[in-house]
Subunit: 483 residues, 2 copies
């Protein structure tokens, strides 16, 4: 896959040295990192798909320092790649000769208001840090993803992160009231609004959210908190197929409404992989099932008997033949153990050899059709392939991951990446779906995007990029192909 | 106020005639309306603040026809002003020599899916039509505003409409999954996505929502439905002041969580005005109170006893001295009657002479401070002024309307419009608020916007306008000052 990475930039050494000197004079020489050993871990992303290069990593400590850096780079025509926790899955954070900009020193919680239910966090805060600050104030910051201990708010915003609670609370976009952004020319847009309603001109905030750093550098955000739930019911069910899972989803939504917070699906192969490779994971259901659904209900009402509600629904679903078995967690510890079965799946898959991944979405009603047809087509292309289709079924977002046949050469398997992309993404497109539901485009899916995105949309995107970043210094070559 | 309207455009008569002939050949001569009598009602907005002019009104029946019109106008450099139900409150829909584009013939519900909870509606559908289609399918389209029988989806989208259920369901923006837009050059962006998650490039949808037709013409949208509520509790309470209302809001939110769907405040003057002028409105509380709150709880759970929940909260609030009296509707008819007290307020105010209106928002926690201080400053500026501060307190959105002193000359009063704008908007800005919470900018607030909006944001907006509408033909002179 590294073949899709761009050629590293060649910068004029003398001009670069002058630029770095000016930046060092402003932010401190210790925060212009050029040591190869220090840089190395920041130049590769987690899956090793892209190996980048950067002459230096800059570590500003304030919005003003970021603005200074951007103004200098704009003047010099030197590109900048922002990087948060380096947990992105599509290579958006990898520099190819550009200066690397780390926001890690900007990690202040500037404000938290439990009446307005807002928190103002700097881009370098980890997601976990924001979750903790909210919890300490008796509130909930609902974004929850596997990398939450490492990933940073700036990255969450730039990739419009999703996760396991989108069904109820939305993506990062829906959890953001306002932004502070340093534009490519170094000017600072102060959009740190805490307002629920503000119709004063174009919606700038949502342009930067999900732009993967290609339109500017997000330095801080006003994020939306929720009252902390006081009741919770977590259940694991065994089912015959995704059609049955869709029927269960409709039953739960119909009865529980907003209380339905999570609805995750995983196949037998996924469950067995977790139980085999991840220590301390319990076999929660005694029988063997083709599919599993992990469902969670939450409520802010303390005396809400969500377990009774879930039991009623499961009883009806059992009678209708939609589920084969179910268990409801009797304690917080049991609930956490059930979640571990789901959350450990990405890690567990690594033990099963090469994995070709797709992060796709389709309308919720078409998930069963997508899983069945995509599985059939892929297995036909490579007998012995092990399909692991799992994820956020309630949002129509399936991680359609393909583990290599047992015993096959890993490199030979990974060479089929584009074959499988074509099979899966063609189907997704025909079902009105998206080839990137929550991970973004980065480097990995730039070419794919040109195949499936509406051409007028691509043209609009290029026009917006040119208007906001006329010198092309903000994370160049990411999302969009071309200059 | 009509002094802020731009000079009408002067178009070359021969070129204009040729353009209209080509358009008539495509969409039918009957749909190129030039009769002055037919045009007249479309050239004035509801409050009579702006009197426009247009050589013709075009009534296309399809996206392709809209695209043809835009391509022709782009070529000829002739501007176009889209108009929905002509219920906008800031003059955005009024043409000044431009061609008027009515979407009323595009009023199809293209699709409704109760599993995916989506409806695909054309721009000319009335809001009521979409609400009805949803209800017939057992679903809810939650946007609710006073003009819902007349206003159209295209206008709701272009102004990011709000209303009385934003607290629970969000503005029009949060209720939209996808758009179809004809760009100023006549190309069509097909963004009719039904996906809950789609991270494939810049968020284009939200750029057009709230842009008031200045970036292109929205022709259709995928809107978000919700399961229809099955339980409802509507209550009216009497309170001493907005501080008490904020305390009640926190109590209700704490106990009811998401079930709290609406939280509206109105002052004694507003309540008395409604009771005096609107036939059939009942005095729901026997006593006399300085302030009133209309609160609504809803739930999709059929057996949810929301009245009991509300009673518990009101009991505690009464003991704490936060409320003086409360009544909970015992029937749907009673609930509707309580809502009428709130919804009739804008109409009722017309009987009290000149009204200078402000549609502002501040963080929810600052609403009491805003109301107290703004009322004090305005009354100081004009003794006898009657302040009517009412609206969506749960969103921080207050309609701060000022009725003229009894007996004052109306024109002399309205001449003070800018004085009061300055007083109110200066305070709003100092509290981190917005000078247009839900009505938009249009013509009415263009100059105000330049005073209060972040200059970098204004510059970004101008750059986006130039990038998407390089010839400046899409609703020119609205939102932004200048070419």
């Amino acid at each position: 896959m590294s073949s899709v990475a761009p050629q590293p930039l060649l910068l004029d050494a003398a001009r670069l040295a002058g630029l770095l000197d000016r930046i060092a004079a402003r932010i401190g020489a210790a925060h212009v990192v050029t040591d190869a050993g220090d840089l190395a871990p920041r130049l590769v992303e987690g899956r090793g798909l892209f190996h980048g290069a950067a002459p230096a990593m800059l570590e500003p400590s304030s919005t003003e320092e970021v603005a200074f850096i951007l103004a200098q780079c704009f003047e010099a025509g030197v590109p900048v790649v922002p990087q948060g926790g380096n947990t992105g899955l599509v290579g958006g954070q990898v520099p190819f000769g550009a200066l690397l900009l780390s926001l890690r020193r900007m990690s202040c919680i500037r404000d938290l208001d439990p009446v307005d239910l807002t928190v103002v966090a700097e881009a370098g805060c980890t997601l976990h840090q924001v979750q903790q600050a909210a919890a300490e104030a008796g509130c909930l910051f609902p974004l929850s993803i596997a990398s939450e201990g490492t990933c940073q708010i700036g990255g969450n915003l730039s990739t419009n992160a999703g996760g396991t609670a989108v069904l109820r609370y939305g993506n990062m976009r829906e959890l953001t009231f306002g932004l502070e952004v340093v534009l490519p020319d170094g000017s600072v847009w102060n959009g740190l609004s805490r307002l629920r309603k503000d119709n004063t001109g174009y919606d700038l905030k949502d342009l930067f959210i999900g732009a993967e750093g290609t339109l500017g550098i997000i330095t801080a955000a006003v994020l939306r908190l929720y009252p902390a739930p006081r009741a919770r019911a977590t259940a694991l069910t065994g089912l015959p197929d995704p059609e049955a899972a869709l029927a269960l989803f409709r039953r739960l939504r119909d009865v529980a409404g907003d209380a339905l917070t999570g609805f995750e699906i995983l196949p037998r192969f996924g469950m067995e992989t977790v139980l085999k490779h991840i220590p301390g994971t319990p076999r929660a259901l005694s029988g063997d099932h083709a599919w599993y659904v992990l469902a969670e209900l939450t409520s802010t009402r303390r005396d809400d008997d969500l377990s009774a509600l879930a039991l009623d629904v499961f009883g009806a679903a059992f009678e209708a033949g939609e589920i084969e078995d179910a268990v409801i967690a009797a304690s917080e510890a049991q609930a956490d153990a059930l979640w571990k079965l789901r959350e450990a799946l990405s890690d567990a898959q690594k033990f099963e050899g090469g994995s070709i991944k797709h992060d796709v979405s389709v309308p919720v009603s078409r998930v069963p059709q997508f899983i069945a047809e995509a599985s059939r087509r892929c297995a036909q292309h490579l007998p012995g392939l092990r399909v692991c289709a799992f994820g956020h079924m309630g949002d129509g977002n399936i991680h359609f991951n393909l583990s290599q046949p047992v015993g096959m050469d890993k490199a030979a398997y990974l060479a089929l990446w584009e074959d499988f992309n074509r099979i899966v993404h063609d189907l997704v497109a025909s079902l009105g779906g998206s080839i990137s539901a929550e991970h973004g485009i980065g480097l990995l899916k730039r070419e794919e995007l040109t195949l499936y995105k509406d051409p007028v949309a691509l043209r609009l995107m290029a026009a917006l990029k040119a208007a906001i970043d006329p010198r092309g210094i903000a994370n160049p070559g990411k999302v969009l192909l071309g200059p």
